[in-house]
Symmetry: C2
Subunit: 115 residues, 2 copies
């Protein structure tokens, strides 16, 4: 039995699994933005956009600050370092697996015969 515990990366990968939220990150990469401007850009209600931003905030990817009546969203200092690390480490695993010769042979042997 193995226990895998890693609370925060769950949240960031989940946050990144939605195209709207990835789009928000793109957008904030071009400059800070209010909830209203993001809601306009992604054709969504204010409330809907607020929820997306909250998901990104909980994942640490975005930070927000409300001054006056407008809440400004920007990219979080946390960044994507942990995610990049996980992906890179495991990308090597994938590659290593395919260097085994018999893998390649059996790959060639079936070519879509699978169930």
């Amino acid at each position: 039995m193995v226990q895998y515990l890693s609370p925060p990366i769950d949240l960031s990968f989940a946050a990144l699994s939605d195209a709207t939220r990835r789009g928000i990150i793109d957008e904030l990469g071009r400059g800070d933005a209010s909830i209203t401007s993001l809601a306009d850009k992604f054709q969504m209600t204010l409330t809907g956009m607020k929820k997306h931003v909250q998901v990104l905030e909980r994942a640490g990817l975005v930070v927000t600050q409300k001054v006056g009546r407008v809440r400004t969203c920007k990219l979080g200092k946390r960044g994507l370092g942990a995610e990049a690390e996980w992906i890179e480490a495991h990308r090597k695993l994938f590659e290593a697996r395919f260097e085994a010769l018999d893998e390649i042979i059996s790959e060639m042997k079936q070519e879509g015969s699978d169930d």
Copy 2:
């Protein structure tokens, strides 16, 4: 208005957002495995494990093949290239944002005064 279309990366990030599924990838990195052996290792019913494997399969991260009565799971040839690319490209966006001097100054100025 901006439309962000990217069907497959949604599936892989969603697949990676679960610790059990990341664990399955670790495990398959060490060698191919049956549904039963994975179910044992992660203390889960066969049916539950089958679902996790299906999620990984739909994301292209794992391929399976049934021979006789055992279904063998292995890492998919698709790999994590697209994900690595997305993450790397955006990691730079994050970093670029923090190179702006006024960002750093305003970061210093508040230090946890946020809402």
